[in-house]
Subunit: 106 residues, 2 copies
Amino acid sequence: MMELVARRFRTLGEPLRLRILQQLEAGEKTVGELVDALDAGQPNISKHLGILYDAGLVGRRREGNAMIYGINDPMVFRLCDLVCRSETKRSKAAFEALNGRTKVKR
Amino acid sequence: MMELVARRFRTLGEPLRLRILQQLEAGEKTVGELVDALDAGQPNISKHLGILYDAGLVGRRREGNAMIYGINDPMVFRLCDLVCRSETKRSKAAFEALNGRTKVKR
DNA sequence: CGACTACATCACTATATGGTGATATAGTTT
DNA sequence: AAACTATATCACCATATAGTGATGTAGTCG
């Protein structure tokens, strides 16, 4: 059970995959468009898209000889929101702790 | 930026770390108690606790010569809730799709 | 102080995974 | 069908990381 949840988190634990999802949040895109937008190798993008697809996070359909990918589970953005908020709070706390402990010239 | 978020997800992308957090949800625990509860090696538990600590997810304090760990950022449980709900929905959809496509004897 | 306990860290191995060039496959066009 | 385009897959290397035995370190007790 924990294994399943962990796998899900690991799927999101890769910057390039998050950037792919971010691109798709704006709307469906072909593999080629993602390759251009993200400045990454095509096999690499395809591999990551495959992982996201297997995880059920994105959907795809064929159109001509292009594959069009799109978001399938909007949950990911709520997850990212939570993490970002937490990260921000953490950074702020770290900053204030530093200010509190450091002798500041006045 | 995405790198930070990804790192956070990767921290949660490990079953043993999730199980540690799950244990700590019930209340603070020492390293030894976690080792017993999770049936894992002590160095391994300590390493994972260190990772969770560096990530700011757990806090710790010394008491005698025992180290007591506890949850520091309850966000993780909201994250897990979201993932679990999504996972459940996905499993259910997969099941129904299977039932819809398979010829069933009646 | 020495012995003991609880934990952290080190050193190492095994495995998983990301990136990439080469190649296979599906669809289109002529 | 041959040539072309878009994507997927393969084979491989490099790196990251989980697990583990040995060792270091902080605190307690006699």
